[in-house]
Amino acid sequence: MNARIDLAQLRQRIACIPALRTDQRAPASALSTGLASVDAYLHDAVVPLGAVHEIAGHAGDEEQGAAGAGFLALSLKANATAGWIVWVTQDADLYAPGLAAFGLDLRRLILVSARRDAEVCWALEEALRSRSLSAVIGEVGVLTLNATRRLQLAAEQAGIPCFLLRRWRTQELAQRQRAQPIAAVSRWRVVPLLHPRLPDQALATLPELGPAHWRLDLWRCRNAAAASWIMEFDHADEQRVTAFPVPVAAALADRPIPATPAAEAEAGRATATLLRFG
């Protein structure tokens, strides 16, 4: 037990080193998602809040980044409890009622529309340097290592998270850009999963949707190993418990990332099916 505590303290101290700041108030805050088991993992790993965090969609959703936007809206509730949030977009397709359903406080949200990736980065940096916000989000396609380094520095100094929601116009661009190195402390992938239900049967009508299921991959992280979770979010329940804005999302599995995509998918499905019957 003692050893475990020492380990945690050691990690905290190590987390301070890369920043090399004179004021040692960091890492007062760690990145959180509002999902208990994910947050426990992030807390153990001491993933700092004031940093660049990348969130990308999966194949097919790289253009819209819908799941990523939903996950962001959900986690902003945990990461930016007070203060202004700036969301820089390029396409005017963010839909306020949908965001509100994820519990994001729209009174604190300021939308900025930019025309190019470079403008998004510029706006993000300005926002980070203004010192009057609690989080910034940028929807961006092509990124250079240098641009992200600048953002990382600015986010570190501001002590607030800078989320990069990746959106690529084409699949080809997505393939090229997806694995490009960027100066992000954590890199996430949000993949919608099929709702776990009985295998295909000759149903007379299509089944109902039920809660949304996502697989959450933390596939690169500065202080921790990669990890994946399966989470479930029920729009209907969220709406019923508006008095307590607690996410109904829950991390259901906590396991290392499988070696091959096929195995990965298999594992995801297996867990999901388990859910249904367990």
């Binding site: 203060g83 994820f102 009174r107 706006a123 999963l193 099929l194 239900r197 089944p207 949707l209």
Partner: protein, 472 residues
């Protein structure tokens, strides 16, 4: 000599001094003029180019006064109340104007008077150019001038001429009531306006600034560093002058007067009135690259519009007091570079139509109203325009079993709906809008979409389907 088609003959419209000395004047046919003076140069009249040049000249004259308006096809009117002292006196101001006009190669006539009418008359009909009608002496100046000097309609002038009323003095001698009865109220109005018995104001070309500072340079400046310093000084002077009034402008215009008569203008806007010179400088700084000094600027003017009371919070911020969560500087910088409407917030609009349920608000608006009906699930992304899809729905009023969107085939594995949204037929342009039946569907990969069928189900023509949004 300028000529233009008049009826079926080419007529002289305007002549220069040399031609006038030879006896050529407007109204003469070009053919006659050629016979008279064979070496005359005839140039076609281009009213559009003339108007554009006059507009440019009007821009340039804002260096004398912010209140400038174009008068007809060939005149400018400036309201110089309170401006002349910047040149020392009205005479020196007029001399400066004269010098510049000569430098531009323009022949001009100008005059200063108490009223618009008197100045107009003196400039166009007075003896010689650069006339200054002394304060309160409009009547003396006007008496000897012909009636057209009163800006009367042409046919009225001809009528007066026929009656032998050749001077303004003749009009003044007649009883007012008789004059008004005989020729209409316009004569009395114009006379009263010229004499200052009736008020008249200019409607300026540009919105009038509520405050401004200007700076003339002994030597034209071309270097960016000099422009920076001049702007810095102007901003400091303006903010210092406004400080005691506790109000500041929300729009600032910087006019730079170039040596060749061109005027270049930069504008910035702020989300909230600001007197922070450093902040305002940063907003201008991004745009200074747009200036093209060429031969140099000889004067710069900074003017403010849309004055607003300063808020207490902002003064704290300037004084470097308590840390303030003041968003205004950030919003200014963002909207200055990305466009005025690039920064906004969401607010609920009372509408059932999804794309109309959200309104954009200015970023610093007071507490937006946010209440969307909780019962209906809405996507995170809504396409600005619903995109047509090819959908296969075997049973009427059922969700599609598969659909093709942007060349990709999606098999539907689960679906919910329909949610019927009726058009708002009472709005203009919505009379023909169709009912929409919305479905939430999940495809084989787990992605969730928001689709709708336009119109009620019918076998023929085949129903049209659209994809409108994506759920997280």
């Amino acid at each position: 000599m300028l000529a233009a088609q008049a009826g079926n003959r080419l007529e002289i419209q305007a002549v220069n001094l040399a031609a006038r000395a030879l006896g050529l004047k407007p109204g003469v046919a070009v053919a006659d003029a050629r016979a008279w003076v064979p070496q005359v140069i005839v140039v076609a009249l281009d009213p559009a180019a003339d108007a554009a040049d006059l507009k440019r000249l009007a821009d340039w004259t804002t260096r004398f006064s912010p209140l400038v308006t174009i008068d007809g096809a060939d005149g400018l009117m400036l309201d110089i109340a309170g401006c002349a002292h910047l040149w020392g006196s009205e005479a020196r101001m007029l001399a400066d104007l004269d010098r510049h006009m000569r430098a531009f190669g323009l022949t001009h006539r100008s005059a200063i008077a108490d009223t618009i009418g008197a100045a107009w008359a003196a400039a166009r009909f007075g003896a010689g150019s650069n006339q200054i009608v002394p304060h309160g002496q409009q009547k003396i100046a006007l008496l000897d001038l012909p009636p057209p000097a009163l800006r009367l309609p042409e046919e009225l002038c001809a009528q007066l001429q026929r009656l032998g009323l050749k001077r303004v003095a003749d009009l003044c001698a007649l009883p007012r009531a008789a004059l008004a009865r005989r020729f209409g109220a316009v004569v009395m109005d114009r006379l009263d306006q010229a004499l200052g018995r009736q008020d008249e104001t200019l409607s300026p070309l540009l919105p009038p600034p509520q405050c401004y500072v200007r700076m003339d340079f002994a030597e034209p400046i071309t270097q960016r560093a000099d422009i920076d310093r001049a702007l810095d000084l102007l901003l400091k002077r303006l903010t210092e002058a406004l400080g005691p009034h506790e109000s500041g402008p929300r729009k600032l215009d910087l006019s730079c007067y170039r040596l060749d008569g061109e005027t270049q203008r930069l504008s910035i806007g702020t989300a909230r009135a600001s007197l922070d010179a450093a902040h305002l400088f940063r907003l201008f700084e991004e745009k200074l690259d747009l200036l093209r000094p060429d031969d140099g600027f000889e004067a710069m003017r900074l003017s403010g519009r849309e004055m607003e009371k300063l808020r207490a919070q902002q003064r704290d911020f300037e004084a470097g007091g308590a840390v303030s969560h003041d968003l205004a500087p950030l919003i200014d910088r963002l909207s200055n570079r990305l466009g005025e409407d690039a920064v906004h917030r969401f607010e609920t609009r009372e509408s059932h139509i999804p794309e109309r349920a959200v309104r954009r608000l200015p970023p610093l608006a007071e507490s937006p109203r946010l209440h969307w009906p909780k019962a209906s699930q809405r996507p995170v992304r809504l396409l600005p325009h619903p995109e047509p899809i090819e959908a296969v729905a075997p049973i009427p009023d059922d969700p599609p079993v598969q659909f093709r969107w942007r060349h990709v085939l999606h098999r539907v594995r689960a679906a919910e709906g329909p949610e019927r949204i009726a058009p708002e037929w009472w709005l203009p342009g919505e009379e023909d809008a169709e009912i929409r039946d919305y479905y939430r569907v999940e495809d084989a990969e787990g992605r969730r979409f928001w689709l709708y069928r336009a119109g009620l189900y019918q076998a023929t023509p085949a129903p049209r389907w659209f994809l409108h949004g994506m759920f997280g």
